[in-house]
């Protein structure tokens, strides 16, 4: 496998990795919010 092939770097569905990182961060925030609501509901 050539070096250029190994370094091929395009994320699926999105144009850049930054978008994916923002989505993962947004998912983390969403998880924290959902779990906070879960805690509050069953407190």
């Amino acid at each position: 496998m050539s070096k250029s092939e190994r370094e091929l770097d395009t994320p699926p569905y999105f144009s850049s990795w930054k978008t994916i990182y923002w989505l993962v961060t947004a998912f983390l925030v969403l998880v924290v919010v959902v779990l906070s609501i879960f805690s509050a509901v069953y407190q």
Binding site: R6, D9, P12, S39
Partner: protein, 559 residues
């Protein structure tokens, strides 16, 4: 366990081993053996990274943690997605650009040979000790609860791992981890369904959650700034970030998983897969433990789950007191069950108060039994939460499923220890043998690497057997890990972010930081200072970074 369970258990384990050996037969070069010929897709990488982190203790202790303390432990993983983004954005492109086999190779190209050797040696010491414990920790629990011989249990786990790890190297580790994760998740989902089915004979799932919440088991996110609290969102985001960053970015047992990718995209996707799934997975395992707690409201649990400890009371003056406490506990449980049912029928404040009082009373009796055990033997370990989930499995699951769940525990132990042994061998081969001794013949180097895998496997088993006599060894190895982890992370962070720092500065900074952490440890051991061992990580890391900058100011810069 009956014959059906044994067939399911050994059928599952042996077929995974056979699959790993078969699919990786005919490896004839070092690239294939250490990096799996860079053929792995993101799904395999993602599951492999997840399986490496999820040891048997995850599936034994975490439900116990949920049972005992509720869901708060999940906050420890809040820093993990951020750490994985940093590893994906910063660490992976550099590792790929330099085409390294191990993380420590990068240290030579960035600094010099001695810094690479330091990084590799710190990893070998720390991970070498941990590999024994990864096998020992589940073996001690499984052997005591299944009444198996401990040495035999260690040999089964270690022996099966050695077979496919020596045979197929990195690719065998990764593809067997896919099967192991499938077994693990299937087993856990089925068990959760069985628990809920048992509970719904008495109350609905929604009421079960309500009861668990009222008993303070579902407090998942805590925004309190009190640093003395063990699990808060703040400790999870900061401490969890440091821990995950050093683990995923600098620990070869993880680095090797994602370096086997077809390309950088597959490696990054594998890590993002983990960034998304890790918290939900831990949440689910903890919730399983909480549901076991609710289950034992309706089905009588033992007063103490670690039967081996209780048996020590036999024939002592405390036996009679234990029998009395046991009877008292059964009465309390009956009262608690009635109060819970009454609360579910009429969820008002009075019934809630009565339910909480009954739950507290049952906890008090459990504590009295623990105090009695300490009276009988002051050295005894009274923590029994690690035995809760296995007690449930062996007592209430149908035959066949028991075998599958024990296979889950063994699979988890095997998936973690295979990664560890594989990475120990890779680091010894690449950073020491190939760098200092080898003449560069690929096939010969692969044979050496296989021999080193076998050697590390034997060392892990030997260490696990030696651990038999020490109750506190697991904590001791965690301490050893914390002593070295901070320095390694500090070296890598300087490498990535402080471009002006050169080899001599980082080497001496790391040496001084490491010695300082060791001194702090001994000052703690001899009660001169009081310092939790998790702080060693932060101290080692920050000292390495600060000192490297200061020393670089003094030392002459090379061109």
């Amino acid at each position: 366990m009956n014959t059906l369970d044994l067939i399911v258990l050994f059928g599952t384990l042996l077929s995974i081993v056979a699959y790993g050996v078969y699919k990786t037969r005919g490896q004839n070069n070092i690239e294939g053996y250490l990096l799996g010929n860079n053929s792995l897709g993101w799904g395999t990488i993602g599951l492999s990274v997840m399986a490496t982190q999820a040891s048997a203790i995850t599936f034994i202790s975490t439900p116990g943690q949920g049972y005992e303390s509720g869901m708060g432990f999940v906050q420890n993983y809040f820093g993990l997605p951020i750490a994985l983004i940093i590893v994906s954005a910063v660490f992976i492109p550099i590792f790929y650009k330099l085409k390294v086999y191990t993380a420590y190779e990068f240290l030579e190209s960035r600094f010099d040979l001695k810094t690479r050797m330091l990084g590799a040696l710190l990893f070998l010491i720390q991970r070498g000790l941990a590999a024994g414990i990864t096998i020992y920790a589940p073996a001690i629990i499984l052997s005591s609860i299944l009444d198996w011989d401990l040495t035999m249990t260690i040999f089964i786990t270690g022996g099966l791992v050695i077979v496919y790890t020596v045979s197929g190297g990195t690719k065998a580790v990764s593809i067997t981890q896919k099967q192991q994760m499938a077994v693990i998740m299937a087993g856990m989902f089925i068990t959760f369904g069985v628990i809920v089915a048992y509970i719904t004979d008495y109350v609905s799932f929604s009421s079960a959650l309500d009861v668990a919440g009222k008993l303070d088991k579902l407090n998942t996110v805590d925004f309190d700034f009190n640093v003395e609290k063990r699990y808060t969102i703040w400790s999870g985001l900061t401490g969890g970030l440091f821990l995950a960053l050093s683990y995923f970015g600098t620990d070869q047992s993880q680095v090797q998983r994602y370096l086997g990718g077809k390309n950088i995209t597959e490696s990054r996707m594998g890590l993002m897969f983990n960034a998304i799934l890790k918290i939900p997975m831990q949440f689910f395992i903890l919730l399983t433990g909480v549901m076991v707690y609710v289950f034992f409201i309706f089905y009588t649990p033992p007063v103490h789950f670690k039967d081996v400890s209780v048996q020590k009371l036999n024939g002592t003056p405390y036996e009679q007191q234990y029998q009395e406490l046991s009877a008292k506990y059964e009465n309390q449980l009956s009262e608690r069950k009635n109060q819970v049912l009454q609360y579910v029928q009429e969820p008002n404040e009075l019934n809630e108060a009565k339910m909480l009082a009954a739950d507290e009373a049952s906890k008090t009796v459990r504590q009295e039994v623990k105090d009695l055990l300490v009276k009988a033997d002051p050295t005894i370990e009274t923590k029994d939460s690690d035995y809760v989930f296995l007690t449930f499995i062996l007592t209430y699951l149908p035959h066949g499923l028991i075998g599958l769940l024990i296979a889950v525990i063994f699979s988890a132990a095997m998936s973690s220890s295979s990664s560890e042994i594989n990475s120990l061998s890779s680091t010894t081969t690449v950073d020491i043998y190939r760098r200092l001794i080898s003449k560069g013949e690929s096939k010969h180097d692969m044979l050496i690497s296989k021999g080193l895998t076998l050697l590390w496997g034997i060392l892990a088993i030997s260490f696990a057997i030696l651990a038999k006599n020490s109750e506190n060894l697991i904590e001791a190895v965690n301490i050893v890990g914390s002593i070295f982890y901070g320095t390694i992370l500090g070296i890598f962070l300087v490498a990535f972010f402080l471009k002006k720092v050169q080899g001599n500065a980082i080497f001496w900074a790391a040496m001084i930081a490491q010695i300082t952490v060791i001194v702090f440890h001994f000052l703690t051991v001899y009660d001169v200072i009081t310092l939790g061992y998790l702080w060693y990580n932060a101290i080692g890391c920050l000292l390495t970074i600060l000192l490297s900058g200061l020393i670089q100011l003094v030392l002459p810069r090379k061109a």
